[in-house]
Every structure is written in C-alpha cells, then in structure tokens.
C-alpha cells in the first residue's frame, strides 16, 4: 500500500508530513526513558522482521499480491507509540533506499501504515483478547482480527487521500481499496497470530511487556 509520489496532491502530502512529524515527535516523547532491557532487542528484531516480511508478497485472488504491514504486530508487542516508531523507521528506509513509497508521500504512508494500523491494531487487540476464557485463544483471535481490521482501515485512509487528491472518486476508490485489502488483511491476521503463537511458545514474557 506504499503510495508513490504523484498519487496524492501537494496539500495532502503536506498535511501527511505534518501529521506524521507530530505523531512521531509525540511517539518519541511517549516512549522516551520507558524502554526496558528486553524491549531494546525486541524493537530491533521487530524492525528487521517487518522489513523482511514486507518483501515477501503473497499472491491473493485475481493476479494481485499483498504483504504484511506488521503495524498491529509491533503495537501489540511494544505498544502503539513504539509501534509507530518502528513502522516509521521501516517506511523511511524503504522510501530512501529502496524507492518503495514516494519521498513526498512519506508522511501519508507513515500515517496509513504506521499511526492508523498501530492504534487500531493495539486497542482492538486489547478489547478482544480478554473476552476469551482461554488466554492463548484470546491472543490468537484478538491479534488476528485486530491485524485484519488494521489493514482494512489503513486502505480506507489511503482511498480517502486518493479521493481528496482528485485522482479517483471516493465512490470508486473506497470499495476497491477496502475490498482487495479485506482479502490481503486475512494474510496479515494469520501472520500476526502465527508470530504471536511463536512468541507465546518461546518467550511468553514478551507478551507481558504491554500491560496497560
């Protein structure tokens, strides 16, 4: 869902940069002096894992592919603000070094694939997971659903930005983007739940870092 330059208008790009800059500045403030001993390597491996996983496009229907965003995963493990920082690092490197996502569109991309899915993913997970009597089941279902919706809402944000930019009408962009990402999001949900199952089996304590 990396928006290249040209898909969004200059005002939308400018607002995106302002919102992303404000969000990242606040994220630094919110996480500063709060990183525990275990969080330092976890933040490193999450950034590395999300970058690598984003390269692995998986095929979905109709000659289309999708890849993990990873924002919900990062936010569930480290909290939404640290998640925003991780996604920002990934998106900056992708844009600057790999020309994936436009330079001017970096702000909107950080908003769409960082801020929006981190908060949707985190709070939805926090809301759903405790509803299950079996803890593991709650984590699996909660993270899967949260990750799925985080992708769908991110695609809605993207559609709205395209529409405001005048590139495609909202009535066309919204169903098209939400429709294809409702399918891609299933991959996001499955991968997120699988990674958390792996964490639960090997280092269950890492899932306790974010006790609200």
């Amino acid at each position: 869902m990396h928006i290249p330059d040209g898909f969004i208008s200059a005002p939308v790009a400018a607002v995106g940069i302002a919102v992303a800059a404000g969000g990242v500045a606040y994220a630094v403030k919110a996480t500063n002096k709060k990183m525990g001993e275990k969080q330092v390597p976890l933040m490193g491996v999450l950034a590395a894992f999300i970058f690598a996983a984003q390269m692995l496009n998986f095929p979905v229907v109709g000659g289309t592919s999708g890849h993990l965003i990873g924002a919900a995963l990062a936010a569930i493990l480290l909290g939404p603000w640290a998640g925003v920082l991780i996604m920002t690092c990934v998106l900056i490197v992708q844009s600057l070094i790999f020309q994936d996502g436009g330079l001017l569109a970096l702000g909107v991309n950080i908003f769409n694939m960082g801020i929006v899915p981190c908060f949707i993913g985190y709070y939805l997970y926090r809301g759903i997971a405790p509803l299950f009597r079996k803890r593991k089941l709650g984590i699996m279902v909660g993270s899967g659903v949260a990750a799925w919706l985080s992708v769908v809402i991110a695609s809605v944000a993207c559609a709205v930005e395209l529409a405001i930019s005048g590139i495609v009408p909202l009535g066309i962009a919204l169903p098209a983007m939400a429709g294809v990402h409702a399918i891609i999001g299933i991959g996001e949900g499955l991968i997120t739940a699988a990674v958390l199952a792996l964490v639960l089996a090997t280092r269950a304590d890492l899932l306790e870092l974010q006790k609200a």
Binding site: D5, V45, A52, G62, I97, V180
Partner: protein, 94 residues
C-alpha cells in the same frame, strides 16, 4: 557469546530476506486498484534511485540481487530499531 532469544528472531528475519526472491511479483492491492481504475500513470519517477525495487544494481542474477538487498535492509533496520530503543531506554537499565 551466549545465544539469546533475539538472535534467533534476527536469524528468522534474515531467513525471510533470503526467501524474498520467491515473493509474488503481482501488483499489490494499491497497484491493482491503480491499474483497474486507470491512474497508474499518475505515479512520478523517484527523485533518485539507490536500490530500486529491492534489486541491487550491478548484480546480474536478479535473485541474488534481491537477496542482498533483503539482507542489507534487514540488518540496517535491526541496527536502527536497536539503536533507537537504546536511546529511549529507561534510566539505570543497561
């Protein structure tokens, strides 16, 4: 050096990077919508190119070029994430 949990996690990320040539090359969700709705052409060329499309320039074998790009990117992001977390870590923690 003792093997720590995150060494395993980093190895897993590097394994994914090595598998990256297997990724589907079909357009992603946004690219699909752009093609179907006819606004692909609106995309501007990047201002500069370093490793476009995750293929290291100058390497003839595209799979190898993709793997190198994946490994370098994965290690760079590990370094950035780790370094940033260290800067933000709680006082008194090692």
């Amino acid at each position: 050096m003792k093997f720590k949990w995150w060494h395993g996690a980093l190895l897993l990320a590097l394994l994914l990077a090595i598998l990256s040539p297997l990724a589907s090359s079909s357009p992603d969700g946004l690219e699909r919508v752009a093609e179907d709705k006819g606004f692909t052409g609106a995309a501007l060329e990047p201002f500069f190119e370093i490793v476009p499309d995750y293929v290291v320039p100058g390497v003839t074998n595209e799979a190898v070029a993709t793997i190198i790009a994946g490994i370098v990117g994965t290690l760079v992001l590990f370094g950035i994430g780790y370094g940033l977390a260290k800067l933000l870590r709680a006082k008194g923690e090692a």
